[in-house]
Symmetry: C2
Subunit: 198 residues, 2 copies
Amino acid sequence: MPARIDPEQRRQQVIEAAFRLVVEEGVEGVSLRKVADESGLNIGSVRHYFDGHSDLLSAAAEEAGDRMGRRLSAHPTEGLRGLTGEAALDALQALVETVMPIDAARRDEAIVVVELVMASRTKPIFATMSMRMASDLGAVLREALDVLGVAESDVAAAQLAAVIGGLTTDAVTPHGALSIDRLRTVLRAHLRMLLGSV
Amino acid sequence: MPARIDPEQRRQQVIEAAFRLVVEEGVEGVSLRKVADESGLNIGSVRHYFDGHSDLLSAAAEEAGDRMGRRLSAHPTEGLRGLTGEAALDALQALVETVMPIDAARRDEAIVVVELVMASRTKPIFATMSMRMASDLGAVLREALDVLGVAESDVAAAQLAAVIGGLTTDAVTPHGALSIDRLRTVLRAHLRMLLGSV
DNA sequence: TGTACATCAGTGAACGCGCGTTCACTGATGTAC
DNA sequence: TGTACATCAGTGAACGCGCGTTCACTGATGTAC
């Protein structure tokens, strides 16, 4: 055998390149030739690690879903138990900001998410990842609001998920063109309203 | 002269076809050949009324912006003055639902809007329309909340704009997969919170 | 009234390009013996 | 220790296709005279 290369590592390298292209040009900009260039490989080499275009997009979608899951898991909702007032607000905001575009890294991650979610409207290949992300985020938000004693946590979580989605879109497009400060201000106002009755 | 055809009417016919393609396949699905097929014209005829692909997309974006403006103007915010309680809530919800995907027609309109807004992230051609839509919607929401006596109406309007964007995305993609009833329930809960202190 | 022409709606072939896919190939290296 | 081979990473040309664009063209009709 020749192999010294870890195939999984190569796949990750290619998926990283695909993510950069999604950020730069959108989902439709992810062609095998551009991914090859961006990842420093030959188009044939990309094909060696992925069955084709669809397979690459599927793998990228799965990776994006995994990352969203990991970011959400990094702030266990149990840490919110017992908090009230400004402390509760701060902790909840920190949890939510895990998935918000408030710095360069999170901005890129958020762009990949909204691009893939929008693409899932017409491309069935992204549907599973799209539903999983909404489900994972919704579950964490509901748990967090439950732990903090918010009534009707399912509706409140749906409101919060909508605010997160809307603010993210407004922050990464000319629509709204939200600054980071403005985004955090509006988010905080919304969280304050949600916790208002507690 | 030969002309009997109203050029503006033909342009509208072509733009309508482009909108249908955006709904079916997304912005990237709008090719001149498909638009020609969809509008029942020859590709050369489409070219006769638009300078090219970019010009067609620009015209479609402007039309989408005009429609958004017209929908918002249909419910003057002055009509809200003096309303309180459930009546205020009903009137505000009716205003907001003008731009929400709660029936087939509004769903198609909303899809075109979110598709073009997302496209504006990477395609400068859509930037003006995208900013204009956010600005028009924001102004109407701020006015409405002002008239209803909501404090800090600028932040409240930004929250509401975010909820509108997020709910729309969740309603037209597998992400969230919101039913119309659920969408209206979550929207009403948010409006109730915004008006809560009045 | 009749004729020539200017105007413009509409046609469709041809171009070069980037795309996903296919496939025969090279070359390096670990293993078998 | 040395040699043959199996394995697999990586290469890049070739294919057919849909794309935006270009352009020479047809044909109908209103106008000029």
